[in-house]
């Protein structure tokens, strides 16, 4: 609860009322400030984005339901990779929810026009930390025996009152001489206890060239998803 009485130190009877009033005013002002920036939203509104995908898309929607930790697991890259610059290794994965985080999630998956878009709206029991990699790690590489890749910060839409970040990750793997490229664009928006994420990647078809990712659409989807969840 935000509402707490402030403790007044023992003072003379004449000053007690004044001290109490001052303390109450401070608490009041704090409450007013807190109320004015109250963060709310409805993650089920993510489904409102269905019309953003035409008939060429295969769309599936999972309504508001319990959190699936698997959606945010398995992000760690294998051990033994060399990062350049070395201090950037901690930014090699996407947003990772703190252990024990509980909450609800809605998701929308759309596949079509050579791309896969995954939209997630998450309401958690505590704010989701999003750390900006800063200038030193806005672009870095990693390499190992069987895989190498790049991670770079990319433009994310600016949304008032919301923290946004965009990341492009590209992973090249080779096993038994068979090369493969995994590519992900991730756009994350956070405010309060809400996180909205758009993951865009190319659809991979055997023996066919890898199609480009429509990043303009991905950014636009993030803006619209945030607006839908916030009800603005």
């Amino acid at each position: 609860m935000r509402c707490r009485r402030s403790e007044a130190r023992p003072v003379g009877p004449g000053k007690l009322a004044t001290v109490l009033k001052k303390a109450l005013v401070i608490v009041c002002l704090g409450l007013v400030a807190g109320c004015s920036s109250a963060d709310s939203g409805d993650i089920a509104k993510l489904a409102d984005l269905r019309p953003e995908f035409g008939q060429d898309y295969n769309v599936s929607i999972i309504d508001k339901s319990g959190f699936d930790p698997k959606m945010f697991a398995n992000k760690a890259l294998p051990q033994g990779l060399t990062y350049n610059p070395a201090e950037c290794s901690k930014f090699s994965t996407g947003v990772v929810l703190p252990t024990g985080t509980k909450g609800n999630m809605s998701s929308l998956t759309a596949e079509g026009e050579g791309n896969s878009f995954i939209l997630l709206a998450v309401e958690t029991s505590e704010p989701v930390p999003v750390v900006d990699p800063g200038d030193a790690c806005k672009s870095f590489t990693f390499s190992g025996d069987k895989l190498r890749g790049t991670v770079e910060k990319v433009d994310a839409p600016q949304i008032e009152g919301v923290t946004t970040i965009g990341t492009h990750r590209k992973i090249m793997t080779v096993a038994n001489g068979q090369p493969a490229i995994g590519e992900l664009y991730t756009y994350v928006a956070t405010y309060g206890d809400f996180m909205i994420e758009v993951i865009a990647r190319p659809l991979l078809t055997p023996n066919a060239p890898v199609p480009p990712v429509n990043t303009d659409k991905a950014r636009d989807l993030l803006t619209k998803a945030v607006a839908a969840v916030r009800g603005k």
């Binding site: 009033k21 109450l24 109320c35 295969n58 339901s65 895989l147 055997p206």
Partner: protein, 231 residues
Amino acid sequence: MSDVCTISRAPRGFSCTYRVVLLLAVLCAGCGPATPPPKPTVVAKSADPAGIDRIRTKLPPDYEIAPLPTPPMPVTFWGVAPGWSADPPHCGDLATVGPGTTRGWSASGPGGIVYALVVAGSAPSADLRALCGSWTLGGGRSTAAVTVADGPLIADATTVRLTADVTTRVENGTETHSHASTLLAYIDDLAISVTVVTDPGAGAAGLPEHVPAGLLGNAVQAIRSTTGGTG
């Protein structure tokens, strides 16, 4: 202090202190806790795993039905012995199943061996797919080179295609090769898969390309339907 008292809406006659306390109470009631801790909710599911049995009729003729080998999961169907390890390690998750009841069948015929399986499971994350475009698996005398791509288009389902080229050392020092293709569809909380394993040296023509994808589409339809599906 007088400003605060002025904006409070307490009835006249109350002291300034009481007015502030009342204002505080109003603010507390209006604002409340930021967000109540979200309670995970459960979505009712109507899919029926028994539908997997009904698609056996979609097989070409001359196929003999048998139970699934254990533990029933794609890695087993590929012929890789238990105790295997994947490189990178996380990639093995794509070809295994979690705890829970499994249901399915196998069928052998002139075009190879078909395995159909339904089990609780959710689609792999985009990160896992990106990391596991090409990976290896080893267990017992067998190693497999695995590639991952998107699967066939099935309405309202996420699909994955795993292709495994398996090499097995035999006792006289020679090697045998087999080719496995596993198509997975994820609906609700279920993972439905159809695996076809062929022996390139067997000489017989393999199953036509469209058969595994067709079987998977039929399986999804049958499992979604609680009234008989494609039976």
